[in-house]
Symmetry: C2
Subunit: 167 residues, 2 copies
């Protein structure tokens, strides 16, 4: 029903300026890329991209479904999953598997790897270059092409490691 947003930014509500423009930029870039690929621009897709553009945090599919339902109440869970998958295919979104199994999604604007604390479940973003050595070793020794950042490295964050022994 509602027309897709035009490439020119259309701010809905004025809030924190900086983050808002940052998110708006990322959003319009993403929508433009979608259009360039010939994929349809739908309300559900725009809403999901909005949710992802507005934050640098890592959102689960459920988080996204909640956020999207604030904008487009009729969007179904299944649509969120399918849309996320197609956005991944389009190269706009990446998902990372965390330890417990559920995946988190983020825009591909800044590729990075992830460390997750097994106790407090917090996530630390680390540069992909940190895994460069491992990546080349795996390729040389096993012919294995590492997809950096597709699964989180598990362990204990600093804070939890310090109190770690008193379980």
């Amino acid at each position: 029903m509602a027309a897709a947003k035009s490439p020119t930014k259309t701010p809905t509500k004025t809030q924190a300026q900086g983050a808002q423009t940052y998110g708006a930029e990322r959003l319009s870039a993403a929508v433009g890329e979608l259009r360039a690929q010939g994929t349809r621009i739908t309300d559900a897709r725009v809403a999901i991209l909005e949710a992802l553009s507005a934050t640098d945090a890592h959102l689960s599919a459920d988080d996204i479904a909640h956020a999207v339902n604030g904008l487009q109440p009729r969007v179904h869970r299944a649509t969120v999953y399918r849309t996320l998958e197609s956005l991944v295919t389009a190269g706009l979104v990446a998902h990372t598997h965390l330890g417990h199994g559920n995946a988190v999604y983020h825009l591909t604007t800044v590729p990075h790897a992830h460390c997750q604390c097994q106790r407090c479940e917090s996530i630390i973003d680390v540069p992909r270059t940190l895994l460069r050595g491992v990546s080349s070793r795996l390729l040389e020794d096993y012919g294995f092409n590492l997809d950096t950042g597709h699964s989180a490295l598990l362990g204990l964050c600093k804070r939890c490691a310090e109190v770690g022994d008193m379980r």
Copy 2:
């Protein structure tokens, strides 16, 4: 029936006779350790340790439940999960999170890290030393204590990478 459908079994040890004694050794060692810790020795626990001792492959909880039911038909799914967890706590068993979310279990006799192919889902065991550099970097730069091998490194195995582009 009880056979795991794991795509790859680690092609290390000779099977049949050799594996049999090898498994028996590992089994009695594990049971001894359980006893030493004061944990009760039950049919379910022995059956689960038998299943794990008999192979070097990576078994899912479901694989184990099937294998165990060949030995002790009355063992319930929930018991398998609870027992595996207590074996992990006891330090006899380790579990690894694969990409899709489900975990696989193996004895802790030979610690190692895992690479999993996202396409064919095969698992490659790699020595933990390969991650030593990353591990120390993470500790120095972020205070993060990497638990090597707790989550699989995802990517494409050699075979799948070669045909990778023709999706």
